[in-house]
């Protein structure tokens, strides 16, 4: 379940990412009534087996069986909630045209990891973003030069060029990429959690800024949920 929109008096339109059929939008009737038999199964961050009845414009959900419920654990931790919101919004945007089983599995795995608090939520979010964009065909490079392939490590990063760039490819005034941030970005992309978690807050925040800029560059419009992650960091 990616997101929901209120419809009419007590219905919702549910946007889902399916394992094999990409993104699906369907109507859940009466789901906002507290007596609804769907309960919380059709809320974001839930993994559900649904049956749909084909309608003229939109399908209707006739049955929903819960496979895994990550919502309750995620909303109990506010930073996990904002991270999960970024993930589902990204999945929603990346699957506009088509999607893949890998994209589905990556999202489910990331939500599960957030619900279980396996890793700090900002790292889980950034790792998900880099890997989801890679699956969509926009793999960044933080080691070899993203433009000419010259072996790294390199000291500059230009998100518009795809990551780290060599001195020849770096336009004048390119942002500097320090060793700690570069190592963290490489670790996040690979899912190397031991190395990622060894990083300190300053490095995480810098890497987060680069991941956020890289994501917004590739998605036509910026992610709405991203701004609330950043503002969340500055509050106690």
């Amino acid at each position: 379940m990616l997101r929901t929109h209120k419809l009419g008096e007590a219905d919702r339109i549910i946007t889902m990412l399916s394992r094999r059929h990409g993104k699906i939008r369907a109507v859940a009737k009466g789901v906002r009534r507290t007596s609804s038999r769907f309960g919380s199964r059709l809320e974001p961050f839930m993994v559900v087996d649904v049956q749909l009845y084909e309608g003229r414009s939109l399908d209707t959900i006739t049955q929903a069986e819960s496979l895994a419920g990550y919502g309750a654990a995620i909303v109990a931790d506010y930073s996990a909630y904002t991270a999960a919101s970024v993930m589902v919004e990204t999945a929603d945007r990346l699957s506009e045209a088509e999607s893949s089983v890998q994209q589905y599995l990556l999202l489910v795995g990331a939500l599960r990891s957030l619900a279980r608090a396996e890793h700090p939520s900002d790292l889980a979010r950034d790792s998900y973003l880099l890997r989801a964009l890679s699956l969509a065909g926009w793999a960044p490079s933080f080691d070899d030069c993203a433009r000419c392939g010259a072996p790294g490590p390199h000291d500059h990063v230009v998100v518009q060029l795809g990551g780290a760039v060599c001195p020849d490819c770096a336009p004048p005034g390119s942002p500097v990429l320090d060793a700690g941030t570069r190592e963290l970005l490489v670790a996040l992309l690979r899912g190397d959690w031991d190395r990622a978690e060894a990083s300190d807050d300053r490095v995480r925040s810098r890497a987060g800024g680069i991941v956020s800029a890289y994501t917004n560059w590739h998605l036509d419009r910026g992610l709405r949920s991203m701004s609330h992650v950043e503002s969340e960091r500055t509050t106690p």
Binding site: G8, A10, V31, T34, D77, Y78, E89, S225, S227, T235
Partner: protein, 198 residues
């Protein structure tokens, strides 16, 4: 499609929440065809409501005056504030007759994916009200769905700095739904059995 003003009327009704094209058509034809229907009163009422309804300067509830009837009522217990998402939740809780404290209407729930963060809700005004030491308990009565729970989590964390009891409506409320649809008995019980978060 109908001609001119009839279709305009149907279009206007379809833009209202909870009214689909079929209902809009039914209402429009009811207005067009029913004899002795006092449309002048209806039209005047709509205009009057728009002109006179304000939001209570203290709690954010809909009100005809600067402050709402609940905030003005000296019999209400001003040491307890119940935090809800919308004015219609105030109405739902009032129907239970279980609660004698005051309210605070947030104006929605935190939903990053819809671009709604804490700053978009009436959270700062709530904190200002709580700075006044007379409040001893805050009841979080946001909807028992994902966004409502996340908003309660955020507020709980924010309120930990204050010496105030923070409680959440009992978990007996069915999950996934909107508070306004809970029946009076269930909602009343949820109030009685509210759990202290800190």
């Amino acid at each position: 499609m109908y001609e001119g003003i009839v279709q305009d009327l149907i279009d206007e009704f379809s833009r209202l929440p909870g009214i689909g094209p079929k209902s809009a058509q039914r209402i429009a034809f009811h207005i067009v065809q029913t004899e002795n229907l006092d449309v002048t009163r209806l039209a005047e009422l709509l205009a009057t409501v728009r002109e006179n309804i304000k939001f209570c300067r203290i709690c954010g509830n809909v009100s005809e005056q600067e402050t709402c009837g609940i905030c003005r009522d000296p019999r209400r217990d001003s040491t307890i504030i119940c935090v809800v998402e919308e004015s219609k939740d105030v109405a739902a809780i009032e129907r239970t007759r279980e609660f004698r404290g005051l309210y605070h209407v947030l104006g929605g729930a935190i939903s990053p994916i819809d671009g709604i963060g804490p700053d978009d809700l009436s959270i700062q005004p709530l904190m200002q009200r709580l700075a006044d030491a007379s409040v001893t308990e805050v009841i979080l009565a946001t909807d028992p769905n994902l966004e409502g729970e996340a908003t309660a989590t955020y507020l709980t964390r924010l309120l930990t700095t204050l010496e105030i009891r923070v409680s959440r409506l009992a978990s007996g409320l069915p999950v996934g739904g909107d508070l306004e649809y809970a029946d009076e008995v269930t909602l009343g019980r949820a109030f009685e059995g509210r759990t202290t978060l800190r």
